[in-house]
């Protein structure tokens, strides 16, 4: 091996270690953001659960209850899809896109830049929320209100949401959940479940008033989970990349040392041979 191959190995080591620095930094950033994101999931859960419970109570306690939000109707589906703004997160975006089933005539509400790009040309509900990272609770309320109105008008008659649910730091699962119409398990005939609650102004109005909050709570929860999933997917991907880089550096340094030794040996042989030559001439 020549000096030039030693030089090229050295250059590769250098470039790999600078890549490794980047992946390491991204890993650390994702890890620190992770903690906040998983806290947000925990915090937002009770809000949604109580709203859900209340809706169930209303539907169950009122025998003659009927609402547009619980009836099945024929029509289009609106599909909220939540994914990331950026790549470099392993299979986070592509897993979700592979998983979801979208019909041609479905209306899409993309959350995340990658989703907007993926569904270019589809029937888009609004593109106002194409940056998943910046979604705040107020955005979710705006969405919840708008979606409830459109649903009532019949612009679509089913509402589903697809996101990546955060199981734990190592597992994230793509998921599709139905939001509207609200499916409520039938009363099991247990009379103890039947309570007298005063609803103001009346059960139907109360129900219809809670729906937008319920939707926004659900969207907020899904966004929070997706963000946490994205961060942990990125953390895992970057961790693997860092490991690969350090393995490559090890291999290359071994190769470099071998090349260096080989060139020293060769030089030695040349010197010895030269000295022998001189001796023989004398």
């Amino acid at each position: 091996m020549s000096a030039s191959s030693m030089k090229s190995i050295k250059n590769r080591i250098k470039s790999i270690s600078s890549t490794m620095q980047i992946t390491k930094a991204m890993e650390l950033v994702a890890t620190s953001k992770m903690r906040k994101a998983s806290e947000r999931i925990q915090k937002s859960k009770p809000y949604f659960n109580i709203l859900r419970e209340t809706l169930e109570d209303i539907a169950r306690d009122n025998k003659d209850f009927s609402s547009v939000y619980t009836r099945d109707r024929k029509g289009k589906t609106c599909h909220i899809v939540i994914a990331g703004d950026r790549g470099l997160a392993g299979g986070y975006n592509s897993n979700l896109f592979k998983f979801i089933k979208v019909n041609k005539e479905d209306i899409i509400l993309p959350i995340g830049k990658k989703v907007s790009e993926y569904f270019e040309g589809a029937d888009i509900y609004t593109n106002a929320y194409s940056r998943a990272e910046h979604i705040k609770i107020s955005d979710c309320h705006a969405m919840g209100n708008a979606l409830a109105k459109s649903y009532e008008k019949g612009e679509f008659t089913r509402l589903v949401i697809s996101y990546t649910s955060y199981v734990n730091a190592l597992t994230q699962e793509p998921k599709t959940v139905s939001m509207l119409p609200v499916k409520i398990a039938a009363n099991e005939g247990n009379s103890e479940n039947h309570r007298l609650i005063i609803y103001e102004p009346d059960a139907e109005t109360a129900f219809a008033n809670i729906i937008p909050h319920y939707l926004s709570g659900m969207i907020y929860g899904a966004v929070s989970e997706s963000v946490a999933s994205e961060l942990s997917a990125r953390r895992n991907a970057m961790e693997a990349a860092t490991d690969n880089a350090s393995e490559m550096i090890n291999k290359l340094s071994l190769e470099y040392n071998r090349a260096r030794q080989a060139s020293i040996t060769r030089e030695l042989t040349e010197i010895v041979a030269g000295a022998e030559n001189l001796k023989q001439r004398n």
Binding site: S44, R195, I197, Y199, T205, A206
Partner: protein, 134 residues
Amino acid sequence: MSTFHLQIVTPDGLLFDGQAEKIIVRTIEGDVCILSGHLEYMSPVATGEAKITLEDGKVRLAACSGGLISVRKDITRLVADTFEWAENIDVHRAKKAKEAAEVQLKDKADFEYKLAELKLKRALVRIQVGESLK
């Protein structure tokens, strides 16, 4: 006075969990006051001021918007979209939000009009509650 268990929940987490003597909130039908021993009750909550009397008799004010109040035998829960104690309100920011909403109201139509209107309402309540401390 006897007290009841009150929880205040928003998407940002559990903001209050403890005993209270009295809570006054604005529902979509008007202000209601809940005392201990109230019948089971549920109503959607509008944007407005909330007044809570704690077990030691101290009164706390807050700006509250959206959600519902639900009274059960063992627990009363206020589930709000936003809920800010008066001392945490940034009046300066609320004033800015009010101005921004007023500008939006001038040139937006329909749906966005409604949103701007809601924003304006929230800002006004915040300013009112925030300044009531001074």
